[in-house]
């Protein structure tokens, strides 16, 4: 098939000028885009208001999608449960027996913990969620990992606040609009979370790998103590994330750390909860000292380590 000849305007001066103007605008658009790109790489929050407005407009579509997702998952889960009913029943019976024993131990530990804390005079800050919402969209085709949350600044959501689901940490808010907010997921490489091993408090930090898994880096060098199946929870250092939220489960042990799967896959989360910043004063102080010290040599969020 030969190409269509409609790009040859003949002798019409007007059509010739029209084509020339098209080229000029196209090249100007390319250059303008390059300029905007440099601006938005230097200052990532430069266009947050425009993005916020766009998310507001697309919000109904996203909410419908979120409900479809929940319904679709329950259908698939129901079918899966039918096929696995017998095996699952046996496994669950065993698990319940084990869990009952664990629960009794937990009760005893809790009581002991309360008494010890009372002795030391420590008061735990009451963590009351800021808002609850659904994840209504995600950047599924970009290498950056953002999600859009269906709650915004009118519900009290502010940039920096951590977001969690029932199963674990999802990420933190980075931009807010009136009714939507943009969440930096834990799997984004820019998101660094200080964690500790749930079993013994081994300090580490996790960093997104942007392929759905996260890299676990240890703070202490030496023999790698990680085991498959180790659970890491937030440690509360840095003052941003409240301690004790599950983040990752180790699935691969490397010579200097490990690779983990998310404790809470954002695709499974029906509702998510926005929590207040754990220690706002510490975060502000760290931010101020970082600004005074100039840019950090490597990407690390407020106070990254333990």
């Amino acid at each position: 098939m030969a190409r269509s000849p409609d790009r040859r305007p003949g002798f019409s001066r007007r059509a010739q000028y029209g084509i020339f103007t098209g080229y000029v605008i196209a090249v100007a658009g390319f250059l303008a885009g390059a300029g905007l790109l440099i601006v938005s790489i230097v200052n990532p929050s430069a266009f947050s208001s425009v993005r916020g407005a766009a998310s507001e407009i697309a919000r109904p579509a996203g909410e419908a999608g979120a409900e479809t997702r929940a319904a679709g998952q329950s259908v698939i889960a129901a079918i899966g449960a039918y096929f696995q009913a017998g095996r699952q029943n046996a496994a669950l019976t065993r698990e319940v027996a084990a869990a009952r024993a664990n629960a009794l131990t937990m009760q005893a530990l809790e009581g002991e913990n309360r008494r010890l804390k009372a002795l030391l005079g420590i008061v735990d800050p009451m963590v009351k969620p800021v808002a609850a919402g659904r994840l209504i969209g995600s950047t599924a085709s970009s290498a950056r990992r953002f999600a859009v949350l269906s709650a915004g600044s009118s519900q009290g959501v502010r940039p920096g606040q951590p977001v969690r689901s029932a199963a674990g940490l999802i990420g933190r808010v980075i931009e807010t609009g009136p009714g939507t907010a943009r969440v930096l997921l834990v799997t984004d490489p820019e998101n660094v979370v200080p964690v500790r091993r749930a079993r013994d408090g081994l300090p580490a930090f996790v960093e997104g790998k942007s392929d759905g898994r996260i890299a676990i880096r240890l703070l202490n060098m030496g023999v790698n103590p990680l085991k498959l199946g180790d659970v890491f929870v937030t440690s509360g250092s840095g003052g941003l994330y409240p301690p004790g939220i599950p983040v990752a489960v180790v699935t691969e042990v490397l010579h200097d750390g490990g690779v983990g799967h998310l404790a809470s896959d954002p695709a499974d989360a029906d509702f998510v909860v926005v929590l207040p910043v754990f220690q706002p004063a510490a975060v502000t102080a760290l931010g101020a000292s970082q600004q005074a010290a100039g840019p950090a040599p490597e990407p690390s969020e407020a106070g990254g380590g333990n």
Partner: protein, 190 residues
Amino acid sequence: MPFPRLPELPSLPMRPEDLVPQRINRAPSPLLASGLPWLSVMLASLAAFSPVIASAPVVPPLAFMVFLAWRMLRPSLLPLWAGLPLGAFDDLFSGQPFGSGIVLWSAAMLVMDTIDNRLLWRSFVQDWAVAGLLMSAYLVLSAGIAGLAAAYPLPLVIGPQVLVTLALYPLVTRFVALLDRIRLLPLRSV
């Protein structure tokens, strides 16, 4: 109850043209004829608000694919500068740093123009090859720009995404061809 035999079932219209009963003294609606390409690309940009919350880049860049398919099917329908507004709209939802869509989509339009001037003949396989090159370059450059913005060299996780994109492109062109027939339905009476 007897199973209904095939001829008794009401038949669906097989072609979009069958939806319009009268064809004489009718012309395509100008709004639909020129607006449908823009609208379909913008709707594809909203695929970020689909029910899938992905924790890895797996979904093909649908908006860019629809955009390329329109450009290949009707070379003069979208103006040469269409990458500027459509890329900007895609940037609002794609999660890329603002401006990356504008740059890459405008560049794709200019490259397509050069290719059209060089290769005088068109065929299915050639279109697919050209689109495959453009889409792979788009994905690699997008990941590179995202890595610049994250100040962290992003790992090459886009391999599966590139394969899915290449495989899906003929389907997208098929869909765009259907939209093109809907676009030219004679809805306006002359």
